[in-house]
């Protein structure tokens, strides 16, 4: 039965939450402009109440949508297209935010939580600040409103019934109450624990960028041009931390799950978030300059506005389909382009209006910043961040320029740089060098009120350490690229300088150590990125000098290796053997060879055909039915060195009927480097094997011959008393032939059967996967003492794989961890500062 009630309830909650956010914004507005204290208080309480009820309605939307997904209500388009029955609970969470509507909802939900916290903590800022906040919330809820006014579509509702989305599907003409058996499931690449925690983190980051913005607009509006920084600063640090963490989680997910060979690809989707984040980091530094020196106030304002607008721009870029041909990611266009654009332009107009209207009244300091002041160095850092952000923004927006030019009737065919990674790193690396130098130097100035003559004294120790340590690293790691040498030295200098600062303040006031720790973390991250990306090495490279064709003279290196089943192959210092396909079986602690299992009519249930044993103990016996994650196949690859097996990797390929083949790497981790291995290609699993025409062969016992280029020996025949599936009578005979094939690594004995039953001759062939052969035992010639075999051959099972070494990638993860600790300390300190502010 189609359950229309639950969707209607959900939709009702959406409408309520949208209207209430508008009312809340209006009440807060009235409270802010009212001169009468009593009115002010009344409207404020009104707004507060409305925001609480709004949050309750949003919670209702979230619960209803989750109930639809969790309850397998596939009559709803959202559940049908994003979920399926067999997914475990935590992946049903991922289904929730896999779609655009769900991710908007996640964003809205975080805003509610943050709004409630702000109502409790924002003191006298509540009225004006929450006006902005509730207005943003109204725009966001309109994105999932799903209403149509005079042909104008406002928002896309997650509560649409499948039959209303797929109006053309003939099945609904026959039966409007048709409910699909199962959903189409969650993209297997997203079935990963990082995808459970990465989107909530990233959207918390998105949501928090609103807070400093709302405080700023409130500050301009109420002419508190300076005070807004105090409550905005801790939230900015928190937001920078969460947004950064969210991006790094995404990077880590990409590293573990996708197979482009790294964690960052300068893809437009990544860039779209990188830009606001780096501008936010610049804004954070401008705020700190202001806190100490009363300068850079206007810069802090502009950057705070820019961060929020760039987050909206990122949303527009990634959801409007404008990036189309520029990105490998698939973007769905929900038809919300116009609405997203209006959202962004509205807040851009509001910000520009407030900034211009108040510009003259914003206090600014005319005093020249001294080169020997900490603020000077922080200021240079902020400028560097802005330029780094500018480059990425400018190039990532190329598809937008084309669209704008075409909208005005022109034609434009500019494409993003062909070598994206090279283009971005060439500039970003120098930004990183500057940041490392400035963060080290700035910190030294920061904690010692510098006098000119003491500078040399303070700088000399970190400088010497930097030169010594980096010289050692350069020699041992054989670094020869100039830009890498400079980046490494700058990063080590930053660690030494910040370490010195940390040393001196830790014993006095640990709560102030956030900055130094965060900067050390960043410097470690830079070193980690330098090695893992700069010295990422394709291990499977083979320069065979193969020419593609005569007219094509350039030699090309092959970056992949071809491995036939059970055929060893040398790859650099390793000897590799592909051991076969494996499956992941419920309750079995290891991967099970595929030949021990046979599929059943239910896709995730398999029958055991050869008992599964762990250390000789039978876990599942022949005939048992087991649960298998059917989409995943793992390819066992042994890595040997000097004949000894060192480790085994299981890169994964997922065969998904609607998405084709998706591959994920397996990574051998060690302290100093990761060895990253992924499948590039496998034989098409859906294609039936092509067997050659049978070749007949008359053999005697002990005779040798070739099967598929391998030496084989016919060892003789044996009488068989039991044949599975055939009832042998007293006059019937069954004989098996023994054929041994000699492989490079191991031999295999095939036992084709020859059966005489009720005077009828039959044979049961046997197949060797690894040698790509099918041998049948077709006749016996007792008078000649010979036997006739029929041999068919096929393509042997193979994989093509790529292996990449990522040195010192752990330094990057370690740096991330340190950075987050630094942010945590700094955030706590700034929140305490604001808590001390008297009403």
């Amino acid at each position: 039965m189609v359950n229309t009630a639950i969707g209607n309830i959900g939709h009702l909650f959406v409408i309520i939450s949208f209207i209430l956010s508008l009312f809340a914004a209006y009440s807060y507005l009235k409270s802010s402009v009212s001169n009468n204290d009593l009115n002010k208080k009344g409207w404020l309480q009104n707004g507060r109440l409305l925001f609480y009820i709004h949050s309750g309605a949003v919670l209702g939307v979230v619960i209803v949508l989750f109930a639809i997904i969790y309850g397998n209500h596939f009559e709803y388009h959202y559940a049908w297209s994003h979920a399926s029955k067999t997914l475990p609970f935590y992946y049903k969470l991922s289904c929730f935010w896999e779609g655009q509507e769900g991710s908007f909802l996640l964003w809205i939900f975080w805003n509610c939580i943050l709004g409630i916290i702000l109502i409790q903590t924002s003191k006298h800022w509540e009225g004006p600040m929450m006006t902005v906040f509730a207005l943003v919330q109204a725009f966001l809820t309109s994105m999932i409103l799903g209403a149509v006014f005079f042909d104008l579509k406002i928002g896309s509702s997650p509560f649409l019934l499948l039959r209303d989305v797929m109006t053309d599907a003939p099945v609904f003409d026959a039966d409007p109450n048709f409910i699909p058996e199962d959903g189409t499931g969650l993209n297997p690449l997203l079935q990963n624990y990082w995808m459970v925690i990465h989107p909530p983190t990233l959207f918390l980051g998105y949501a928090t960028t609103l807070i400093p913005f709302a405080y700023l607009i409130a500050g301009l509006w109420t002419k508190n041009y300076q005070d807004w920084i105090k409550p905005a600063l801790p939230w900015t640090i928190f937001s920078v931390a969460i947004l950064g963490l969210g991006q790094l989680m995404g990077a880590y997910w990409a590293y573990e799950t996708l197979s482009f060979g790294g964690y960052w690809n300068w893809d437009p989707v990544e860039n779209a978030v990188y830009v606001p984040w780096i501008i936010q980091v610049a804004g954070l530094h401008a705020m700190i300059i202001f806190k100490n020196n009363n300068t850079a106030l206007k810069l802090a304002m502009i950057l705070t506005v820019a961060t929020f607008i760039l987050i909206l721009y990122a949303t527009f870029l990634t959801r409007s389909g404008v990036l189309g041909e520029a990105s490998v990611h698939s973007f769905t266009d929900l038809g919300l382009n116009g609405q997203l654009l209006i959202y962004m332009l509205t807040f851009l107009a509001i910000s520009v209006y407030f900034l211009i209207a108040h510009w003259k009244n914003i206090p600014s300091s005319n005093k020249e910043i001294s080169t020997y002041s900490r603020e000077f160095w922080i200021f240079l850092g902020a400028i560097t961040f802005c330029l780094m952000g500018f480059q990425v923004l400018y190039a990532t927006s190329i598809p937008v320029y084309n669209n704008i030019i075409e909208a005005f009737g022109g034609t434009s065919n500019i494409a993003p740089p062909a070598d994206q990674v090279g283009y971005f790193t060439n500039i970003q690396i120098w930004g990183a060098v500057l940041i490392a130098i400035l963060s080290g130097t700035g910190q030294l100035f920061y904690w010692k009120k510098m006098e000119k003559n003491k500078i040399v004294e303070a700088l000399v120790a970190p400088f010497i350490i930097a030169l010594l340590v980096s010289a050692i690293i350069i020699v041992f790691a054989k670094i020869s690229t100039v830009s890498y040498i400079i980046l490494l030295t700058a990063a080590v200098y930053s660690i030494a300088a910040n370490g010195k600062v940390l040393w001196s303040i830790w014993s006095k006031k640990p709560s102030l150590s956030g900055g130094a720790i965060a900067h050390i973390g960043v410097a470690f991250m830079l070193i980690g990125i330098l090695f893992s990306s700069g010295y990422s090495k394709v291990v499977s490279l083979n320069n065979s000098g193969l020419l593609y064709s005569s007219e094509f003279s350039d030699e090309m290196n092959r970056e992949n290796v071809l491995l036939f089943l059970n055929e060893p192959r040398q790859m650099n210092e390793y000897e590799l053997i592909y051991k076969g396909r494996r499956k992941e079986v419920e309750k079995v602690p290891f991967y099970v060879p595929e030949y021990q299992l046979a599929p059943t009519s239910v896709e995730y249930l398999y029958r055991v055909t050869e008992s599964i044993k762990d250390d000789g103990e039978v876990i599942f016996d022949v005939g048992d039915t087991v649960e298998v994650s059917h989409e995943n196949t793992y390819y066992e690859i042994d890595y040997k060195k000097g004949g000894e097996k060192i480790f085994t990797l299981f890169p994964r390929a997922q065969v998904n009927p609607s998405m084709g083949l998706l591959v994920s790497p397996d990574i051998k981790r060690s302290v100093s480097s990761d060895l990253y291995t992924h499948i590039s290609t496998i034989p098409d699993p859906e294609k039936e094997k092509d067997w050659s025409e049978p070749e007949s062969k008359k053999v005697r016992a002990g005779e040798r011959f070739f099967i598929n280029d391998y030496v084989a020996e016919f060892k003789g025949v044996e009488r068989v008393n039991d044949v599975a599936g055939i009832d042998l009578g007293p006059t019937d005979v069954a004989v098996k032939g023994l054929v041994e094939i000699f492989g490079d690594a191991e031999n295999e004995i095939l036992e084709p059967l020859f059966v005489v039953k009720d005077n009828m001759i039959g044979n049961i062939p046997e197949v060797s996967e690894q040698f790509g052969a099918r041998v049948s035992f077709v006749n016996v010639f007792p008078e000649e003492d010979s036997f006739e075999l029929s041999i068919q051959t096929t393509q042997k099972d193979y994989i093509i794989m790529k292996a990449i070494e990522k040195p010192y990638i752990n330094v990057l993860w370690l740096g991330t961890f340190v950075l987050m600790i630094g942010f945590g300390i700094a955030t706590a300190r700034r929140f305490k500062d604001f808590a001390k502010v008297k009403l």
């Binding site: 297209s81 330029l387 070598d419 500039i427």
Partner: protein, 140 residues
């Protein structure tokens, strides 16, 4: 001159530098014909060509030639001007290559062969399904 002015000038210079390098590094979307003309004029810059795989009347992909060692392959691609060109790619065939609706190749001409450095595939996304598959209906 005040220090802030010097910094301002440097920032503007850096921004101009970024814009110029971007203009220099930016690629373009062209047809095979234009790409060939560029190559003949000695311009070996990498360009983008948008198109589809060449298909016969029954919709089967034609013109795919894997190398003997399977580590590279070439394929016939039809650009948006309906011109067909053999494209060489020095990587094994991407798994979902045959299913792609649209192919963007980034590369340049080397003699008569277009050598792709990178291939972007647009595959029919499962999230834009417009039909419910027949077997799902038959399950009822």
């Amino acid at each position: 001159m005040k220090k802030t002015h010097i910094i301002g000038i440097l920032v503007i210079a850096a921004a101009i530098f970024i814009i110029i390098t971007t203009a220099g590094d930016a690629s373009s979307y062209v047809s095979f014909k234009e790409a060939k003309e560029m190559a003949e004029n000695g311009n070996d810059k990498m360009i983008h060509v948008v198109g589809q795989l060449s298909k016969d009347v029954e919709g089967n992909v034609v013109g795919i030639e894997p190398s003997d060692d399977k580590l590279s392959f070439s394929f016939a691609m039809v650009d948006n001007n309906q011109e067909t060109q053999q494209v060489y790619y020095n990587e094994p065939m991407p798994p979902d290559f045959m299913r792609s609706e649209q192919v963007v190749v980034i590369g340049s001409y080397k003699n008569d062969l277009f050598v792709a450095d990178e291939i972007l595939l647009k595959c029919p996304s499962k999230y834009e399904e417009e039909t419910i598959s027949v077997n799902e209906i038959s399950k009822r």
